[in-house]
């Protein structure tokens, strides 16, 4: 539900149309594939059905109908719950990590605390893998574990750099 939560993060700053949501999303995640309008409206329909978003206003002008969406209290709870949960240190968690970190920053949340919690999650997995590697029976087993350890190491370095940048940014704007 990553896109849904990113949209909730944008809607928390104020009600918006589907078009605004797409533009805002694409602006915040320039390296991600731009959202298709169909994806945005499908996500909004699901969020509405789940009670996380509601229709704030529908304008019937000369052109097509324009609907403004707003986040609900349940939506804020859901967003907080998503942001408060660390990602599993699986094989490819980076995209979700980036989304979560950027959304957290935009929201003015304690991003450094999240990054530290995530580091602890990654280190715990790395510790288990190092123990497995110490008892690896052969090179094939060891290098398969190396592959995962290297990805974790890359994530950990990214987490450190992100924390540094957030801290530097905070100092500069203080």
């Amino acid at each position: 539900m990553a896109i849904g939560h990113v949209l909730l993060g944008i809607l928390e700053r104020g009600p918006a149309h589907g078009y605004d949501l797409k533009r805002s999303h694409d602006q915040h995640f320039p390296s991600a594939r731009p959202l298709a309008f169909g994806q945005v409206y499908a996500a909004l329909a699901k969020l509405t059905a789940d009670g996380l978003v509601e229709v704030a206003e529908t304008q019937q002008g000369g052109g097509p109908e324009r609907t403004t969406y707003a986040i609900t209290a349940a939506g804020v709870d859901s967003l907080e719950s998503w942001l408060g949960t660390t990602e599993s240190a699986g094989p490819y968690p980076a995209d979700e990590l980036v989304r979560k970190t950027v959304t957290s920053l935009l929201r003015g949340a304690d991003t450094v605390a999240f990054l530290q919690d995530q580091r602890a999650t990654h280190l715990a997995v790395m510790r288990d893998l190092l123990a497995q590697q110490a008892s690896a029976q052969n090179a094939a087993a060891a290098i398969a574990i190396d592959h995962t350890i290297s990805h974790l190491d890359a994530d950990l370095r990214w987490l450190e750099t992100a924390a540094e940048r957030v801290a530097a940014d905070r100092t500069a704007t203080a």
């Binding site: 530290q116 580091r119 602890a120 280190l123 790395m126 590697q133 110490a134 801290a167």
Partner: protein, 231 residues
């Protein structure tokens, strides 16, 4: 690993340390503690004060303010001779590049701390050989540092740090100059010997693999610590 972290069990405690080199401030209130058998990783960006914190805790540098207590004694109250004695008998130091004496063989390097303590020469050499064997370095006994690889020299350096039976081992980037495979081997051996001897281990590191094996992590930023829950 469950470690008793009550006041009584704390072997070493460094509190609110401040230190600087000329105008460059290295520590601005950093703290560090280690219990018997505990592995503590000190992490942080370059220039965050990691090595200075380690050297202050190990009694090599005197902080400008703050206290370092070891086994209930304040290091600030000791004169240089007593501090030196403490460092030789109770602390083991492992640095990034081994810092072995180039003119001496591996076994002579490892025996050196015992000989400085006026132990019997033959017994010192026997003990040194035992330690080299424990670190899988028995074949290197007669080699000089210049004839060893980085990983070999580091294993000899660990033997030298452990030979006096220290209660705390301080290691500054022990895998920093090694490739991944040799780094992991050195790390495994360092952990194993500290576990066997119940020595506390303080590891200054940039290496996430090293931080991952610690019981606890002390993260430094701008000379201050932010305690993190260990892996």
């Amino acid at each position: 690993m469950n470690v008793d972290r009550t006041e009584d069990a704390l072997v070493l405690q460094a509190r609110d340390l401040h230190a600087s080199y000329g105008r460059t401030v290295a520590l601005r209130g950093a703290s560090l503690s280690v219990s018997a058998g505990e592995v503590v990783a000190v992490t942080g960006p370059s220039g965050s004060g990691k090595s200075t914190l380690l050297l202050c805790a190990a009694g090599v540098l005197r902080p400008e303010s703050g206290r370092v207590t070891y086994a209930g004694r304040d290091l600030g109250d000791l004169d240089e001779a007593d501090r030196s004695l403490l460092r030789r008998r109770d602390f083991g130091l492992v640095l990034q590049f081994g810092q072995l004496v180039p003119e001496l063989s591996a076994v002579q390097n490892v025996a050196l701390p015992l000989l400085l303590e006026r132990h019997d020469k033959a017994a010192s050499v026997t003990t040194a050989r035992d330690w080299l064997e424990r670190l899988d370095a028995a074949d290197l006994a007669d080699a000089r540092p210049g004839e060893m690889s980085g990983g070999e020299a580091q294993r000899v350096a660990i033997a030298r740090a452990l030979v006096t039976g220290p209660r705390i081992v301080f290691a500054d980037e022990p895998t920093g100059a090694l490739d991944t495979v040799n780094g992991e081997r050195v790390l495994r051996m360092l952990l194993e010997v500290c576990r066997q001897t119940a020595a506390g281990l303080v590891l200054v590191t940039h290496d996430n693999r090293v931080a991952a094996v610690a019981d606890r992590e002390v993260a430094l930023r701008d000379g201050r610590d932010e305690q993190r829950v260990g892996a």
